[in-house]
Symmetry: C2
């Protein structure tokens, strides 16, 4: 990587923050890393596994002298975090974030970034269902998209530098308007998580079927839904509270489609079911063709599968 | 395996039928296999890859002399298939099936099984999103549950023989009342598939977001939902038409839970969201503890993941 940053401050050391640290160690992108986490326990673990070169209880101390500041806290915590570091941000620094929502982040964080610095919101579309400082790994961003939603006034060379930082980790970068980002993500990520959580709770509330039965027979499809239902509750609460309009809009559309299927089932309309299922299958094939999932059966997750 | 069958007739050579064939070749369970498929093309491929010792256009020819007959056709086709083989079923033979619905199968198939034979409905909870005669593999049933729903009058030694057939492939066998099976499967399999199909179609209908964007950013959760939406449309049409009451009942419960979440989002009730998400996470942990899924992030599907 040609234009590495001098010092990157990673504020928040969960799955994404710790993965950025590992990725920098493996691929470059910054000469030194300063780290901050709100939780004492997270900071202790981060120190133990060496996620940064310096560790700070106070986020403003981590930010001092950094030419790249990355907010890796849950969406709802970023505003307060930005306020706490505001006066420590050095002239010319880039401030970015990794939040799953962009409109709310811009509203919450933007006012705290001083005029002499550059706030370029970002979102790496990468993650696993695990969380915490031990869950990160350097390859998390490989072959994944990272969306930047630059603001008017962002200098082109600063956007380019941030873009290079992400492509250095193997990411592909796309630029997007913040509102469009929030709609695309509501569909591809927020709604699926909401549905996953709902399915799991509906199953757990079923008095005629024991939890043990649900779990035993989950290979029939239920386990797919439940993977993402294991994601960090705090992060996801914040996502839904901060992307309310887009999520509610798509939830309405989902419910409409579900009603169409419900009616087809009730009336025994096999043709509607067949046509709709066939169409859905085509979309799935597109995802595999685009390299965003494996074509191996069961995501290749079954260790006994030899085919 | 001690008590192998002399001749097994596999009627239907898709994912499940072809996997049974591979499993018999690898683990035993039958001395010879006769095969039938409705589609000429399927039968041609089955012959090419040697899925049976003899191949038959007419299912009744495949059944002649078989002491185990396995219906591996879509649920909606099993009644006609049973009618076609009825007169060829030999005395003492076991007739079973692999359908995801048991009530309707018993109603459709039962009357065609002669008094001198024994219909023991079955359902291996195993599968991938792929279909067709080339999709099978011997290990499909390993460490998976197979549910038998014996009928009154089934001799215990016949049930035991069928149970042994499945455990020989590495399956764990559970016996269940047919109606309970249909409810458990509606929750663990049928509803997840319905939700998956609905999500994919809702996404495809979104005019503000391109299909290419949906696909590109599907790593955010959408690809999880879409795996099972790639499953065989004919099979799934038949499942929904034949397990209507249980599916509609659970769909109602799912919609209620979704409304609770929808309301919490609309009113900014973060506590309700957080509590519900935390509860869902616990259920997921139970599935991993029960060995029905991998604990590896992303189902272990990301080849770049080294953690």
């Amino acid at each position: 990587m040609s234009a590495a940053f001098e010092k990157v401050a990673i504020l928040g050391l969960g799955l994404i923050g710790s993965s950025i640290s590992h990725a920098i160690r493996k691929y470059g992108g910054a000469k030194t890393i300063s780290g901050h986490a709100k939780s004492v326990e997270t900071l202790r673990i981060a120190r133990e596994i060496g996620l940064a070169d310096s560790f700070h209880d106070n986020p403003a101390d981590a930010v001092k002298g950094a030419d790249l500041v990355i907010l890796c806290a849950p969406v709802g915590a970023c505003g307060a975090l930005a306020a706490a570091i505001s006066s420590a941000i050095r002239p010319g620094a880039i401030v970015t974030d990794v939040g799953s929502v962009k409109g709310a982040i811009i509203k919450d964080v933007g006012p705290h970034v001083p005029q002499h610095a550059h706030f370029i919101p970002g979102h790496p579309i990468a993650g696993t269902e695990q969380s915490g400082p031990r869950s990160g790994f350097a390859e998390l961003f490989e072959n994944r998209w990272c969306i930047l939603t630059p603001l008017s006034g962002n200098p082109v060379e600063k956007i380019a530098a941030l873009e290079e930082f992400w492509t250095g980790f193997g990411s592909k970068v796309e630029r997007m308007e913040p509102g469009h980002h929030d709609l695309v993500l509501a569909m591809t990520s927020h709604l699926p998580h909401l549905i996953a959580y709902t399915s799991v709770v509906a199953a757990a509330d079923l008095e005629e079927v024991t939890q043990s039965e649900i779990i035993k027979f989950s290979a029939g499809g239920f386990r797919d839904l439940t993977r993402i239902a294991a994601s960090d509750p705090t992060m996801w609460r914040d996502v839904f509270l901060n992307n309310r309009e887009a999520v509610l809009e798509l939830l309405g559309r989902f419910s409409e489609e579900l009603s169409v299927l419900q009616k087809a089932i009730r009336w025994g309309d096999g043709e509607t079911l067949f046509n709709l299922f066939s169409r859905a299958r085509e979309v799935r094939r597109g995802i595999i063709a685009a390299g965003q999932d494996t074509a191996a059966p069961n995501f290749g997750r079954d260790p006994t599968h030899k085919a």
